[in-house]
C-alpha cells in the first residue's frame, strides 16, 4: 500500500541529506564564494503577485527547443514581453528573434540588435534584463546559468537535464536551495509531471489501486538524433558546440539527455532516488568521429532502498524495436505509461482498472508554462528542482555505471570530484575544447573496466 507521508518523508530526507552534502562538496570544490546576489526572500515573487505588470522574458539558448519554450511562455500569459535573447552563436540568436517576431509581432518581441547577445558570456547580459528566464542551452551550461538567474532573483523555466556531471548537480542543488528561500518559481522541463496521462496514473497508483512497485522497465529506444557536419574553418570548440549532442561535457550522453524522462518517472512513482546502479553499455552503430564520444546504448539496473529494481534501457540504433515508455510491476498488478498520452493500470489477473486515452490532451509543454506564469502572477511557488536534481543525478549515476562497468553508489556518485564542464569565462572559441580529438580526428570512447568516473 502506498503511503503519501512515507514518500514525502523520504523525499525530504533526500533533499536535506543532499543539501548537507552539497554544502560540503561546494566548499571542498572551491566554490564557497559563488555568486549569491541580492537575497530578499520572496521579494521577486511579490512584485508580480496578482499584478498586471508586464513580465520581461529572456531566452538563454536559442535552438528549436528554446524558441519553442519561448513560444509556450508567450502563449501562457498575454502580459509577457521578450526583451533579450542569448546564444553562443549569433546566427541562432537572430533566427530565434526572427521566428518569434513573425509569430508574436513587434509589440511583444522587444528584442533589438542591442539585446541580442552572442558568446559564452551572453547569458549574463540577457538574464540581467529579465524577470523570468528560459534556460535552454545544452545542459552542460545549466548549473552556471541557473546559479546566475537565482542570484539575480529571476523566475526560471529550465530544460532537463540540469547538469552533465555531479559537480554541476551540486551547484544546481545549492542554487535551488537559494531559489526556495527566495520563493522563486522554478519549473523544470520534465514535462511528464505536467502530462494528464501521467498525473492520472500517478494519482491512482498513490491511492493504492495496484499496491507498491517492486520492479520496472523504462525505455528510450529510438533512432537517434541529428548530426551536423564539420564545416571548413570551424574551430574545434565551435564544432563541438554545434554537435553538442555527441559530447559528454555538453550533453551528458543520451542516457541523460533523453532517457532522463523515463528514469524520472521511475523515481517519481517509487518516491525516491535509487541507492545504486550497475550496468553495461557501448557504441556499436555510431562509428567514426562524426558522432563524438558518446555511447549508442546503455542498460542499467537501478536499485532502490525499498528493494525495487528498475531496468533502464536506452538506445540510439535505427531499425530496432524502438519504444519510449515505462512499465512497472507492483505487488498486485502492473502500470504502463508512455509519452504518447497512454496510461493503464492493470491487476495481476489482467483486469484493466484504468485506461487513459489522451490522443488530444493539451500539450504538457504548454501546461508547464501555463502553470509557471499562473504561479508567478498569483504569488505562488512551484519548485521542480527536487525531482529535477534527482532525475539528473540518477541518469548521471547510470552513465557512470555503464562507462566504468563498475557498481556505483548514489553517495559516491553524487560526491564525485570529476568535473567535465569549464566555467564559461574559461571557454574561448580559438582555445582548446574540454575534450580534443586525436591525430586521426577521433575522440576517446569510454571503455568499461578501464574508464574512471568518480
Amino acid at each position: 500500500m502506498s503511503d503519501d507521508n512515507k514518500k514525502d518523508l523520504s523525499r525530504r530526507q533526500f533533499i536535506e541529506k543532499s543539501s548537507v552534502l552539497a554544502g560540503g562538496a561546494l566548499i571542498t570544490g572551491g566554490l564557497a564564494g559563488c555568486a549569491t546576489g541580492s537575497t530578499n526572500p520572496a521579494a521577486s515573487s511579490a512584485v508580480f503577485a496578482g499584478g498586471s505588470e508586464t513580465l520581461k522574458l529572456a531566452v538563454i539558448g536559442c535552438g528549436g527547443r528554446g524558441t519553442g519554450a519561448a513560444t509556450q511562455a508567450m502563449k501562457a500569459d498575454k502580459g509577457i514581453e521578450l526583451v533579450a535573447v542569448a546564444d553562443a552563436f549569433d546566427d541562432q540568436a537572430a533566427k530565434c528573434v526572427k521566428t518569434l517576431t513573425r509569430i508574436f509581432g513587434n509589440e511583444r518581441i522587444k528584442v533589438t540588435p542591442e539585446t541580442t547577445f552572442a558568446g559564452f558570456d551572453a547569458f549574463e547580459k540577457a538574464i540581467d534584463m529579465a524577470d523570468v528566464v528560459i534556460l535552454a542551452t545544452p545542459p552542460g551550461f545549466r548549473p552556471e546559468h541557473f546559479e546566475y538567474a537565482v542570484a539575480g532573483n529571476k523566475h526560471v523555466f529550465m530544460e532537463k537535464p540540469l547538469a552533465t556531471d555531479a559537480y554541476g548537480v551540486r551547484r544546481v542543488m545549492k542554487a535551488a536551495e537559494q531559489a526556495r528561500e527566495k520563493k522563486l518559481n522554478v519549473v523544470v522541463g520534465l514535462q511528464r509531471h505536467y502530462q494528464p496521462s501521467y498525473l492520472e496514473a500517478y494519482k491512482r497508483y498513490q491511492e493504492g489501486a495496484i499496491g507498491e512497485i517492486v520492479s520496472g522497465q523504462v525505455y528510450w529506444n529510438s533512432d537517434g538524433v541529428w548530426v551536423r557536419e564539420r564545416q571548413p574553418g570551424q574551430t574545434e570548440l565551435e564544432y563541438q558546440m554545434r554537435n553538442w549532442y555527441y559530447f559528454n561535457w555538453l550533453c551528458g550522453d543520451h542516457i541523460l539527455e533523453q532517457h532522463i524522462h523515463n528514469i524520472d518517472v521511475a523515481n517519481w512513482f517509487i518516491g525516491a532516488a535509487p541507492v545504486g546502479a550497475q550496468g553495461m553499455g557501448g557504441r556499436q552503430v555510431r562509428a567514426g568521429p562524426d558522432h563524438g564520444e558518446i555511447f549508442d546504448h546503455h542498460f542499467v539496473e537501478f536499485t532502490y532502498a525499498n528493494g525495487a529494481v528498475i531496468s533502464s534501457q536506452c538506445r540510439h540504433q535505427p531499425g530496432c524495436a524502438n519504444m519510449v515508455e515505462e512499465r512497472f510491476q507492483t505487488t498486485t498488478g502492473s502500470l504502463y505509461t508512455s509519452g504518447s498520452n497512454d496510461a493503464t493500470l492493470t491487476t495481476r489477473a489482467g483486469e484493466r482498472l484504468y485506461k487513459h486515452s489522451g490522443m488530444f490532451d493539451p500539450s504538457p509543454y504548454q501546461i508547464e508554462h501555463d502553470k509557471l506564469f499562473a504561479s508567478i502572477r498569483s504569488g505562488g511557488h512551484i519548485d521542480d528542482t527536487p525531482h529535477g536534481v534527482e532525475a539528473t543525478m540518477t541518469a548521471i549515476m547510470g552513465r557512470m555505471a555503464t562507462y566504468s562497468g563498475k557498481r556505483v553508489s548514489w553517495d559516491k556518485a553524487l560526491a564525485s570530484g570529476q568535473r567535465l564542464v569549464p566555467d564559461s569565462k574559461d571557454l574561448d572559441w580559438n582555445g582548446k575544447a574540454p575534450v580534443m580529438p586525436d591525430a586521426e580526428g577521433s575522440y576517446a570512447i569510454p571503455t568499461p573496466g578501464k574508464t574512471r568516473v568518480l
Binding site: G68, T71, T99, S222, D342, S363
Partner: protein
C-alpha cells in the same frame, strides 16, 4: 533542419524509363523499390464518372460532404495497401541510396525531379507501440508523404503521388454508391475502426478487399490525399479530375477513417480535415515538417496516373514545405 540527408539529383534529358512492364495493358503491377527487398502492389483503376459526396440522408454525414456532384477521373493505379513502415523507412534512413542506384537522370528530368530531401529520424518511436512489421506508417506529415512519393518517383522513374480526393473516393466506392463499399452488416470483414480495432491499427491487408481489390480503404489508418480541405470546394468543384491544390498547411484532407474512429467516419464520403493539434506534443519551434506527434491514425497510400503527365504538370504536384509555428 539537418541537411546531410539532402539528396541532390542530377538534371539531364527528357524521357521516361523503367515503366513497369504491362503498364500499357493497364493491369495491376508490382513496383519494386530499387535497392531493397520491398515492393508496392498497384491496382489498375479504370477512370470514369461518379457522384462524389454523400446524400443528406446519410447517417453521420457532415455538411461539407455536399453538395453531391458528378465528377470524372482518368485512369490511374492505386496502392493495393497503405504504405507500411518497411516501405516508408527506406526513405527515412536512405541507407540504400546512392547516386549509382538512381534511374537514368534523363528520367528524372522527365519527372521534373531536381532534388529530394530525406525525412529526419523521428525523435521518439512513431508507431506508438502499435507495431512496425507489416503495419501502416503513421504520424507522417502531408509534406513527408508527398516527398516519399517524389523519392519513389526518382528511384523508379515512374511518377507517383498521393491520390486526389476525387480519385480516393472513386477508388473507395469501387463502383458502389452506398455509404460503404460493402454491405451494411459486414463491417468487421472490411473495416478496422473503434468497433473492432482493440485500440490499435492492424496489419495492412488484414481485412477483405473492396470490389476493385483494394484493402483498408475503410478504417485502419486515415489516408492523406493531395487536397487542401475546403468545406465549400464541392459547390464549385471542376467536373474533370478536380484537385484543390494546397496553399495553407492546415487543414488538408485525410480520407477513410481509422482504427481510432467509429465506423461512420470510415464512410466513402467522410472527409477528415487535418489540424495543428496533430503536432500537439512537438516541443520545437518551428515544428517538424516530417513528423506528426499526435496522429497515430494517419497514413497514406500512393497513386500513379496511367498516362504519365509531362514534366510541367508533374511539377504542379510537388508542394513546398510550409514552416509550422504551432500557433
Amino acid at each position: 533542419m539537418p541537411t546531410n540527408r539532402a539528396l541532390i539529383l542530377a538534371l539531364a534529358l527528357v524521357g521516361l524509363a523503367n515503366t513497369p512492364a504491362g503498364a500499357e495493358e493497364f493491369t495491376a503491377f508490382v513496383q519494386p523499390i530499387p535497392d531493397s527487398e520491398q515492393d508496392i502492389s498497384m491496382v489498375a483503376v479504370t477512370g470514369g464518372s461518379f457522384v462524389m459526396g454523400s446524400p443528406e440522408s446519410e447517417t453521420g454525414r457532415q455538411d461539407w460532404e455536399g453538395p453531391q456532384h458528378r465528377v470524372t477521373v482518368g485512369d490511374f493505379f492505386i496502392g493495393k495497401y497503405e504504405i507500411n513502415w518497411q516501405q516508408y523507412e527506406l526513405f527515412v534512413y536512405r541507407d540504400e541510396d546512392s547516386f549509382n542506384s538512381l534511374v537514368d537522370p534523363a528520367t528524372l528530368a522527365g519527372l521534373a525531379i531536381d532534388g529530394v530531401t530525406g525525412a529526419t529520424s523521428p525523435y521518439v518511436e512513431m508507431s506508438f507501440g502499435m507495431g512496425k512489421e507489416g503495419f501502416p506508417a503513421v504520424n507522417v506529415t502531408h509534406y513527408a508523404a508527398l516527398q516519399y512519393a517524389r523519392w519513389l518517383s526518382a528511384k523508379t522513374g515512374r511518377f507517383y503521388r498521393l491520390p486526389t480526393e476525387a480519385e480516393w473516393e472513386y477508388a473507395c466506392r469501387a463502383g458502389t454508391s452506398t455509404a460503404m463499399s460493402f454491405g451494411s452488416d459486414a463491417a468487421d470483414k472490411y473495416a478496422v475502426t473503434t468497433d473492432n480495432s482493440e485500440e490499435k491499427y492492424a496489419r495492412t491487408g488484414s481485412r477483405d478487399a473492396n470490389p476493385w481489390g483494394i484493402h483498408d480503404m475503410h478504417g485502419n489508418v486515415a489516408e492523406w490525399t493531395m487536397d487542401q480541405f475546403d468545406p465549400a470546394f464541392y459547390a464549385t468543384s471542376p467536373g474533370g479530375n478536380p484537385y484543390n491544390r494546397p496553399t495553407e498547411l492546415y487543414p488538408r484532407v485525410a480520407r477513410g477513417g481509422s482504427w481510432a474512429q467509429p465506423l461512420e467516419h470510415a464512410r466513402c464520403a467522410a472527409r477528415l480535415p487535418s489540424a495543428a493539434n496533430w503536432k500537439e506534443r512537438d516541443p520545437q519551434i518551428p515544428k517538424s515538417r516530417w513528423w506528426l506527434t499526435n496522429a497515430p491514425f494517419v497514413g497514406f497510400r500512393l497513386v500513379s496516373p496511367r498516362v504519365q503527365p509531362p514534366a510541367a504538370e508533374i511539377q504542379r504536384y510537388w508542394l513546398e514545405a510550409i514552416e509550422d509555428y504551432g500557433i
